[in-house]
């Protein structure tokens, strides 16, 4: 079932992809930058570009940011082309890569880059690549999650390749440093900035592309995420309003958690609003509310229908995730879930949920219960990651009063000269999201 608009998501996406591949394979520029909104097929693009470059006989190195991302790309490459020899360069720590790679006959694994030389595609993390030295650079590189890569880690690896395709999501969390770096703010090569901002500051003429369609986000979520976090580079969802459905076998028991689940199943969004209160970070009531929502999601026999299969897929624990701002909050939610006897649900911080996809997400709002709105909690990327991991529905648990907090709390960050001002700012994005969530509000006093 598709909507009758003139917009054909498949064709639009195909057009963007072929332009990117053309620039990558036949362009004259040393770099190509691709901005990809959440779930727009970034990994698919990376895999496809890798295969085409390998077909063209160009030795290729792939730089990703985490070992999980590298392993995921290796698995996808092997799935698309099991014949292609692939090198997985890994660290010398114990258990350095996903054991699933051991079952792939054409994947060679080594801790030494020299062992893998000659393999058409070699993949590793930026941290590992930084220790590699070569006499002759690779003809081509693909840098994945380039907006989450720090400028200094690109500096460490950029000497390894001649040309590169940089792919990433500008709306997600910016990289950060654990010490102050104001000293270099405003410099084009600020080492704590993102790799892409340094790259574009020094090479403003590079071709920049954009993937226009999110295949992950449902029609209920794409307009909000696009409007709140990508105001100048809008995107659409690949599916229409009726293409995805979430239903539950067990009817609601009338409690807050059940009502918010129904609201989210119906509209894609649900806000479970607890009474206003200043709380510690690991707000026990909010944490318990999150855990209860998850418990009820699993207990009520959820089934998801999507364009992927005509038959309903059961909503199991591995299709649900909980997102928080802080690690101690995640730990508290894990403990609360364990108490309720729930296992197998991913609970993590926004930083670690980047790039992941679930059917339903339950989010503890970063500003819930806080007396202040710091730059960390206001960061647009944090909210964007948390609000864009789901294929069907997202339930946000939050204390009332966040809008007042946003209005009352002034921004205290010093203004740095010469830095690129990021739009939208966290304040505005938070308001946009809250205004939308208010329409799906279920007040609840636990």
């Amino acid at each position: 079932m598709t909507t009758t608009t003139a917009f054909d998501p498949g064709a639009e996406a195909a057009r963007a992809t072929s332009a990117i591949l053309h620039d990558t394979l036949h362009g004259t520029d040393r770099g190509v930058v691709v901005d990809s909104p959440p779930g727009a097929g970034k990994s698919t693009l990376v895999v496809r570009a890798a295969l085409e470059l390998a077909d063209a006989g160009r030795p290729l190195m792939v730089v990703a940011q985490t070992n999980a991302q590298v392993d995921d790309l290796v698995l996808r490459l092997a799935e698309k082309n099991p014949e292609l020899p692939v090198g997985r360069l890994h660290s010398s720590d114990s258990d350095p890569y996903d054991k699933a790679l051991d079952d792939l006959p054409n994947v060679r694994k080594s801790a030494k880059a020299a062992d893998l030389r000659g393999t058409p595609v070699v993949l590793s993390t930026a941290a590992k690549w930084a220790h590699v030295t070569v006499d002759e650079p690779w003809r081509h590189a693909i840098v994945d999650e380039a907006y989450q890569m720090r400028s200094d880690s690109l500096l460490a690896v950029a000497g390894l390749f001649e040309r590169a395709l940089f792919v990433g999501d500008p709306g997600q969390l910016d990289p950060f440093a654990i010490v102050g770096s104001e000293q270099w703010a405003g410099l084009s090569y600020d080492p704590s900035g993102s790799a892409v901002s340094t790259l574009l500051a020094h090479n403003p003429g590079l071709p920049q592309h954009r993937l226009p369609v999110s295949w992950r986000l449902p029609a209920s979520a794409a307009p909000l995420v696009s409007g709140a976090f990508y105001p100048y580079t809008p995107f659409r969802s690949g599916t229409g309003h009726g293409d995805r459905r979430l239903s539950f076998a067990v009817p609601a028991d009338g409690s807050g958690p059940d009502r918010v689940i129904d609201e989210a199943a119906e509209s894609g969004w649900g806000l479970l609003e607890l009474p206003a209160r200043h709380t510690p970070r690991t707000d026990p009531e909010a944490v318990r509310a999150v855990a209860t929502v998850v418990r009820r999601l699993l207990d009520r026999g959820g089934a998801a229908v999507s364009e992927r299969s005509p038959d309903p897929t059961p909503l199991t624990a591995d299709r649900v995730a909980v997102g928080t701002a802080h690690r101690d909050q995640a730990a508290a939610v894990r403990a609360a879930l364990a108490e309720l006897g729930v296992s197998g649900v991913t609970v993590d911080t926004a930083n670690r949920l980047q790039g992941r996809e679930y059917d339903v997400t339950v989010v503890l709002h970063p500003l819930s219960g806080r007396p202040d709105a710091t730059a960390f909690h206001l960061e647009t990327g944090r909210l964007c990651v948390l609000a864009s991991r789901h294929r069907h529905a997202c339930v946000v648990v939050c204390r009332a009063g966040v809008t007042d907090l946003l209005d009352a709390y002034p921004s205290t960050e010093p203004v740095q000269l010469g830095t690129l001002v990021k739009f939208p700012d966290g304040w505005e994005a938070n308001h946009t999201v809250l205004a939308h969530l208010a329409e799906h509000r279920v007040p609840w006093r636990p």
Partner: protein, 529 residues
Amino acid sequence: MSLITTLARLEAVSTGVAQPAATVRHRHLSGQPLVFVPLTTSGEAGAPLGALVGTDRDAPRLLVVPQPRDRDLRFAFLAELADVVLPYLDSYAGSVEAAERTETDPETGKRVKVEVELCADAPQLIVPGRAGIEYVRLLGRSMRFRRTAEQDPEAPYPAPPRVPLLGRWLTHFGERARVPGSSLLLAMTDLLSRHWATGQSGIEDQHLGALLAWIDPPRGSTGAAAARTAELARDTDGQLVCPPAGPATDPAFDNKLLAPAFERYDRARTALAGAEDGLQADTRLGILTAAEREIRDLVASRTRPTWDAVWRGLDLLHRLPEGARVEERWTRDRWSFTGHRDRVLAGEPPQPRRDDAVTAANKLATREREQARLDAQEALDDPLVMAGRRLSGEAFAGEVLDVVMAYGEGKRPSPRPLVTVRTEDRPQLAEGAKTYRSLGGKPQSMEFVGQEAAGVVVLRVLDKMGRGKEPEPGSVPEKGDRFTLTLFEHEQRGGAKLPDPEATPWTHGGPPGEGVPEPADAMTQEDVL
């Protein structure tokens, strides 16, 4: 702010006295620090008004600029400052010990050990507050590109010899102060608030007088009351009893005392210049000297309380025993000092105005590594700091309930004993998480296997048991052993090597190009008032 700091501050409020935030001293203190209490002129960026400086608490050297808008007087001040600071630095530059350093051999490209000099000790600068560190940086920046008459005979206002050199050193100290855990240049307020938690906010802690009042209140007063007095009390002339630690001065002092004194000085100077004969000149010189003395007394009266406060702070800190790993960090400061000494001796140009891409990335990497090292070392050195980490779930203390011998898979089975530990802490352990305990000063890693019951965790020992099939004696915990395990690593790995600046890649703008000697700031109208 961590939970334990919040608790300590609450306790300070309820008891009225600052609470210890550390049981050992986490920064190196030199036996002979150079204390520097600068004052600046309000409304004039980088125009020093005066300073107390020296290594003898009873005999500070008072340096004063009687008219800060006068360039010559400003330079005279800086030259005098150089006369105090540079001999102090030199006294450390000469005494060296032999040390080894790994360097890349330019011919073979291999890492080889080279014998180099390492200064046996390093100088230490103490300023009253964080603004003092900024001021050291500002002075360094304003001086290091100056040209002396010898370097550039055409320079309109040649700097006195050694002033540019002082600028380079102050710049080095200012840069080093950005490295976490370094002790070459320290602010007393930072030192004190690292070791004590007061019942006021972090910003209020930057008032040295108030901070000391919380830590060491006068007999019969609470810290809170004494801090309030330190911040607000004024004498009958409306002057603060405890003058701000600087470099900025109190506006009431500027308006009521300093400005009229400047005016008298200026008038006396003009009068002297217009003297018609020797006798008249003598009398007028007397007036000028008196006017200058007046300004000197004013500057002394505002810096001396701060000077004494800094030394009082040092006394308080010396009462704490030095942390076990402080010495190791101080050795890094000695390397830093030796390195800059060598660059100066080799005739290298002053530090550039801006770091190039590679230098900036290297500095950031070093600072991040030092921050992680400092966090780990402070916790390992100090049970109170460790308690904070335990409270936040990053460490846990426990008692061994049981040890079961087990072996790893693989061709040569190596010992991988399973240790059951009971703890009352609540560590944030995820499946397969690594934890570390200190075994004879070295970290031994254990992997989290699972939770047996509430507060009972099972860990697998992974290393430090020797090469044999049987673990070396003492390397495996025994039943009844008590120790603390951390979720953070104890030691930091070195980062990747970045390219040389000449090999800066195209993504970062390519090589920065040949460094041209940086010109001094161009003259502006404000400079020649």
